[in-house]
Subunit: 502 residues, 2 copies
């Protein structure tokens, strides 16, 4: 039997599988760098990963891919999944080839210097030391956004959004955020008026006990330990690959709830990754959707499940047992633990924020970065714009306090623009998925209260995880929940949890 010549589509599958496998090696090497590598290995690892990255980039932008995509689009023998795979290949290819290599190189150099300078300048509260470098990063990011935009036929900032989540547009995000901006400050006042201060949870909390508690939670939430690991790193993250998913946290000796909730959050990311469609490993359609949907999965686990009263009630005895605390101690009763898990406070720092105030931190950044990319705000005016918004949204001033203001996050200094909104879109998505799941699958709430995640996880596997990139964000949302992303679900959730249950 003679060898058949593969169709253009089949040939593309082969090419992308090869690239995907190299990305798997890259993912493990990145995880190793964060979790295992001794300091002396850093320079060599940086070079080794840069070589692998260039190689992946060269393979991903090879002109033959563009030609094969054109030919494959003329094929009329493709299944629904194959059509979606081809669409994702094209998206990937356009994005990979849109920006000139010398601009990418200039960005790598500028962000590297800017980020390193920022680390020192932040602790010294020294905005002028980094403002000029940030100006250059913004300048290059605008060029990047313009190049992407002209390849994608999108406005520059929309092109950046598109790289983080297909379908995201300012025309869609801005009204959602306007709505939340008008709603949340009033809600915040009400919540602060009714909530009671929790009794303190006094440490120390030995690392080994915290680690065991985190493993318990991962087990409860359905993490597959045969296809993943759990380790310590400087910042919590979810890495690895679908069949070897690796999450991390970090510990402090005098508190445990942050670390615990970080693991609940990362487990949400991990469950998504472990649940991706087995038949489409290393194909673009088999990957997870973008940052907003990924965050909707982590926040569904963290905010909707793990900070809920039924889950806290279920895990409270285990928390007491792990730390040797007594049920007769009021601080360790589930009522008080739940108060800690749902404590709302006005604060300066986004990463420390609760679910009521978090969106306001994000909206503030979104509004500034849209203007930076559109050229309607200059870098030197960031501190004033920041202070102004903080006063309006949270009633706090950051005048002269750059470290807790516009210098608190690495994103801009590292050249990340368009990423911030995905955090809040994820929170909106989490509320919308969870409300829909509760409607469609009556066993979910009882399951959580009894330590059985299967009803919820089964629903997520079927409706979200197992679909990979078959549909992009909005069609998926619509097909599962009956509506595109909508703020009403989050509002209802917050009102029930913070105004209704007490």
């Amino acid at each position: 039997m003679p060898n058949e010549i593969p169709s253009p589509y089949t040939s593309l599958e082969h090419t992308f599988a090869g690239i995907g496998k190299l990305k798997e090696v890259q993912a493990i090497a990145h995880w190793d760098e964060a979790c295992m590598m001794p300091s002396g290995g850093g320079a060599g690892r940086g070079e080794a990963l840069a070589t692998l990255t260039s190689l992946i980039h060269a393979q991903s932008t090879h002109p033959s891919i563009g030609e094969e995509i054109n030919k494959a689009e003329a094929q009329n023998d493709l299944s629904t999944w194959q059509v979606a795979n081809l669409r994702e290949m094209k998206r990937t290819w356009i994005e990979a080839t849109a920006v000139p290599a010398d601009l990418i190189h200039a960005q790598a150099l500028a962000t590297s210097v800017c980020e390193q300078t920022w680390r020192k300048a932040r602790s010294a509260n020294d905005w002028p030391a980094v403002a000029g470098l940030l100006g250059e990063v913004v300048n290059l990011s605008r060029q990047h956004a313009q190049a992407l935009g002209s390849a994608m036929d999108l406005a520059p900032y929309d092109a950046l959004l598109e790289t983080y989540e297909s379908d995201l547009r300012t025309s869609y995000v801005t009204p959602l955020f306007e709505d939340l901006k008008a709603y949340l400050p009033t809600l915040l006042d009400k919540v602060l008026g009714v909530q009671s201060a929790p009794l303190p949870l006094t440490g120390p909390f030995p690392t080994t006990d915290q680690s065991l508690l985190c493993s318990d939670a991962m087990q409860l939430l359905g993490f597959d330990f045969d296809r993943g690991r759990f380790d310590v790193s400087h910042h919590p993250f979810c890495g690895g690959v679908p069949d070897d998913t690796r999450i991390t946290t970090r510990y402090e000796n005098n508190s445990f709830l942050e670390s615990f909730m970080a693991i609940c959050h990362e487990t949400g990311h991990a469950l998504y990754q472990q649940g991706l469609p087995v038949d489409w490993r290393n194909q673009p359609v088999g990957y997870a959707l973008g940052a907003a949907i990924h965050e909707s999965q982590s926040l569904l686990m963290e905010l909707q499940v793990c900070r809920s009263r039924p889950f806290v009630d279920h895990i409270a005895p285990d928390m007491r047992a792990r730390f040797g605390r007594s049920e007769t101690d009021p601080a360790w009763q589930s009522e008080n633990l739940y108060r800690h898990a749902t404590l709302v406070e006005r604060g300066y720092i986004r990463v420390d924020a609760d679910e009521v105030t978090y969106p306001l931190h994000v909206i503030l950044r979104y509004e500034i970065e849209v203007q930076l990319i559109n050229g309607t705000l200059s870098v030197e005016d960031i501190p004033e714009a920041w202070n102004d918004a903080m006063q309006r949204y949270l009633g706090l001033t950051t005048l002269g306090n750059f470290a807790d203001g516009c210098m608190q996050d690495v994103h801009w200094f590292a050249g990340l623009f368009g990423y911030f909104p995905t955090y809040t879109l994820g929170a909106l998505g989490a509320a919308q998925w969870f409300a829909t799941a509760l409607d469609q699958e009556p066993g979910i709430n009882g399951g959580i209260a009894a330590g059985d995640i299967k009803p919820l996880l089964g629903w997520l596997r079927t409706n979200i995880h197992g679909k990979g990139r078959l549909m992009s964000m909005q069609p998926l949302m619509e097909s599962v929940t009956g509506a595109t992303l909508d703020a009403s679900f989050l509002k209802r959730h917050l009102e029930r949890r913070y105004l209704g249950e007490r």
Copy 2:
């Protein structure tokens, strides 16, 4: 200033650096597979590593490399190191291109089936179950050796030796082994006649204590923990890269000396790797020499240093402290610990053998595999040849006992021919290096007794580690010790340790 066109040599350095960096990623992914990967990640990792390996192979065999080597050989502006680097590039390239891809593929398939079958057949002592498959592996290995031999202008078995250590030839190895074969059985009788049985060391030995003791030894021996790690795996090994060298061991609950000595051994490999020349990272001349010299470094640490009386005397208090044993217990006094470290026994199993009997296990295998590759012995006659040699060398019979005879090692079933002799050549080298070092650097023995490895490590760094592949094995031996590899050093060492010191 216009860009200069790089010389052929410079262009080769660039190519090999790129390949070297990919090999670094590969090394870390291999380590991860052995030490960190959950079982479910195996299939995907296998595919990912196969993709990376093919890519490295494709880059290493690119015809342009051969052309550049020819041109570079005409350059007369190269330094001594550059000339050596070019020589190693050529060696690497000839080896990489000598064997047809379809033969390599057939070998991969045949050895995979044979090795898997061997794992089961060995526990069942079922030689006939695997003999046929081994026949096919031998057949393909002969073709491989012939292809290599014609590219290298060497006899087939010599070509295999050359791939493990440049300069190794049967014309050189056979007389050395004939000498040892005549000498060791008589020595063994004498040693068994004079040695006293040690008092037993009774466990349990908790893993955490064993692990701390191993770290102590690594520290004593000069392992650089800023550029390396120490973990647990199924079999002890040394992996990673020069600036991130990773060694492993495994533990048993009721004994600790095997695991401890395994770490001393792997630390010897690690010190070599960590000491390779910094200026030649990722260039062929910057790599370690072959398996025999690598083993000479591990065995120098294990046999010459760590099983010596001064080292045992120095580490004994730490061993007692780690396991909570008393100095007044005769079993835990250094005299008895030293007896354990130097216990000689006739046995069936190579990996359990002591330094007196180990070479006989190797010589037996060498004699058989030379004949297998030359076609003068057939696979079906292996058990008889094995039994015959065991009787002559060690006075033991393996008639009908395949599991403890010719089925005990994975090597042949995995297609490794030409590797066995490097173990004993390493032991010979270790004795020769160490005797020379003691002559040239008077502080070494006092240093070991006082827990100061610096005099020895400094000598190794200067004379061996830091030279990379500047010279191949025999010229290096000769330039440092005044002689090519010579059995007299090992003989003198064994006589002193086993007949003189008691």
